[in-house]
């Protein structure tokens, strides 16, 4: 290295180490006290020629919208938010004035994560935090039938979807944990105290390397109590090399389907961490969004982006050893080293994704444009809820809090609806009246209007965890001018 080069190199290093401290956000965690939510479409930036409107506001944790045959709009309220706020989930009719009428109130087994409409009925994915996940059918009068129940949803991630094709209801089932090992982070979520035996279930038999992790034991009062836990087993149970974990259906980290009138779940695809959004293209291809790993728990994973996948039947997608087709062992967790791989052999080589999305963006509900007049035909629109830093890991700047569109041909991710103002982040953080936490998007039947469901204010801090605020959810609508 010449002296000249060395100077650059040194300066570069100084620069790299100095940057985080110079950053006015002190490392990017958006720890702030949000003011009252304001809502103003002119604070949302969309491509030229598009118009933004507000359809409804004041909702509590809305998650998804759908229309019936007459074009009447309906919205689900989740009934559950991180921060262990547990309410009854609800289905409302949304009037053109923005007022809502209750159709049905569910039991406290939310979150209701998604809804679709087919032949006179609504189909709802009930997250199942308390009693296990379900797929519900709700008729026009609000009568509820349970089509499948006892899905393994009592952990970190829930039952998601649904989408209907050829008389089958497809749904996603998230994993119990961040990366297959139950740990103290699951106690922070709340569920480890309620369900200390709960853990991930693979969809087919897998063979473990026998990697175990020793952690604090939050289930006892003794401050120094430690336990050792392996993958796919209850908290405090170790595994050994060559141990086979039997696959079962229903399982975690999977897409499954049931016949439209209910029945036993069948496997569609597995090895997905939290498959959240799903939509069929006009060619009948299934696209899904996967929320990727967090930097938390006994086996933290750093630097893995959320993923947009096109699903091939029967395929394993790489969790808990891969992200977006790559082994996670090349990504060093700052100050901790790289995660060890857990599986002795892989069910199949993991496929390559359609696109990689922001690390911690929480890329959730999605839909596909199918109207030439709206434009971007065939592109996948994705609602990015936004990061939950610092509890999922650190970020330099807020990630997500917007709607992006992805060209599935080349994986390029463009912004579609973002907040105006300086930098990126939720509206209350930017002190504007734009988007807070978009959780899903939905094109109307004709495909000429895109609804954005905005969950509302949810802040996260190390001290208090997630703090969602009731009555701050909004439905936005974007059309061509």
């Amino acid at each position: 290295m010449t002296g000249y080069c060395r100077t650059y190199f040194l300066l570069f290093l100084i620069f790299l180490t100095g940057c985080a401290r110079l950053d006015p956000m002190g490392g990017g965690q958006i720890n702030y006290d949000p003011a009252e939510r304001q809502v103003d479409p002119s604070d949302v930036l969309v491509p030229e020629g598009f118009k933004v409107e507000v359809v409804a506001r004041g909702l509590t944790f809305p998650t998804a919208v759908v229309e019936n045959d007459e074009g009447q709009l309906f919205v689900t309220e989740s009934g559950y938010a991180y921060g262990e706020v547990i309410l009854p989930p609800k289905l409302y009719r949304v009037n053109t004035s923005g007022s809502t009428e209750l159709i049905v109130e569910g039991t406290k087994n939310g979150p209701w994560t998604g809804i679709t409409y087919h032949d006179g009925n609504f189909y709802v994915a009930e997250g199942g935090q308390m009693e296990g996940g379900k797929i519900l059918r709700i008729n026009a009068n609000g009568a509820v039938d349970t089509l499948v129940s006892n899905l393994p949803s009592m952990g970190d991630h829930h039952t998601n979807g649904p989408a209907i094709k050829d008389n089958y209801i497809y749904f996603g089932q998230g994993t119990a944990t961040n990366s297959a090992v139950v740990g103290p982070d699951n106690a922070s979520f709340g569920w480890l105290y309620r369900k200390p035996e709960f853990h991930d279930i693979p969809c087919k038999d897998i063979v473990l390397k026998g990697i175990n992790y020793t952690s604090k034991n939050p289930l006892t009062d003794a401050p120094d109590d430690k336990v050792t836990t392996g993958a796919y087993v209850p908290f405090g149970e170790a595994t050994r090399k060559g141990q086979v974990i039997r696959g079962e259906i229903p399982c975690n980290g999977a897409i499954m389907r049931i016949p439209i009138d209910g029945g036993e779940p069948e496997l569609v695809a597995w090895g997905l961490r939290n498959p959240y959004g799903m939509a069929f293209s006009s060619l009948g291809e299934l696209f899904i969004t996967e929320n990727s790993y967090d930097v938390r728990g006994s086996r933290p994973v750093w630097g893995t982006g959320d993923v947009l996948w096109k699903i091939e039947d029967g395929t394993w997608y790489g969790w808990p050893d891969h992200n977006a087709g790559h082994e996670i062992s090349h990504l060093k967790v700052p100050d901790k080293g790289a995660p060890k791989l857990l599986l002795e052999k892989y069910p199949n080589p993991p496929p390559q994704p359609v696109a990689k999305l922001g690390v911690h963006s929480s890329s959730n509900g999605m839909d596909i444009s199918r109207n030439a007049n709206f434009g971007f035909e065939g592109e996948v629109f994705i609602a990015q809820f936004g990061d939950m830093a610092p509890n999922v890991g650190k970020v330099i700047r807020p990630v997500g809090f917007k709607v992006v569109r992805v060209n599935p041909e080349n994986g390029v991710v463009e912004n579609f609806a973002i907040n105006k103002g300086k930098g990126n982040g939720p509206a209350t953080f930017l002190k504007t009246a734009g988007l807070e936490r978009p959780v899903s998007v939905h094109f109307n039947e004709e495909g000429e209007a895109l609804y954005i469901v905005d969950f509302g204010i949810l802040t996260v801090s190390k001290e208090e965890g997630a703090k969602p605020r009731e009555g701050t959810g909004v439905i936005w609508k974007i059309t061509k001018e």
Binding site: G3, Y4, T7, Y8, L11, F12, L13, F15, L16, T17, G18, C19, L22, D23, P24, G28, L45, P47, E48, W302, G303, T304, G305, D306, A324, H330, L331, K332, P334, A355, K356, L357, G358, V359, H360, S361, G393, V395, I396, R397, V399, N410, G411, V412, V413, E414, N415, I418, K422, G423, N424
Partner: protein
């Protein structure tokens, strides 16, 4: 080190520094007049970099286009992965592809 290199280094340090001068790159429309290399660079950037540097701005990773990092430093960073960023080998991203990524980022910075 000579006075000239100190001067140069200071200039570079200032131009790539943690300035808050926002180019709001994430709001710009797709570049209409991108060259073929730049377009290929964009696709490669989205495949390898965008999840940590959304549209070239800060996210999990540091900002690139809003702080005008010089091209050779982008190249250096890709191969050496200073700080917490992983390094990318030639098998993952070829030299030619690195050049295209740099071309694209320079087009965004312009």
């Amino acid at each position: 080190m000579g006075g000239r290199s100190v001067f140069l280094s200071v200039i570079i340090f200032v131009c790539m520094g943690c300035s808050s001068s926002k180019k709001e790159a994430y709001t710009v429309k797709p570049l209409a007049d991108m060259t073929e290399e730049e377009q290929e660079g964009k696709v490669l950037f989205h495949k390898h970099c965008n999840s940590c540097h959304p549209n070239g701005t800060a996210g999990l990773g540091a900002p690139i286009v809003t702080t005008s990092v010089p091209g050779f430093l982008i190249q250096f960073q890709i191969r050496n992965g200073l700080g917490t960023m992983p390094a990318f080998s030639e098998e993952e991203i070829s030299d030619e592809e690195v050049d295209k990524i740099v071309d694209y980022l320079k087009a965004l910075i312009k």
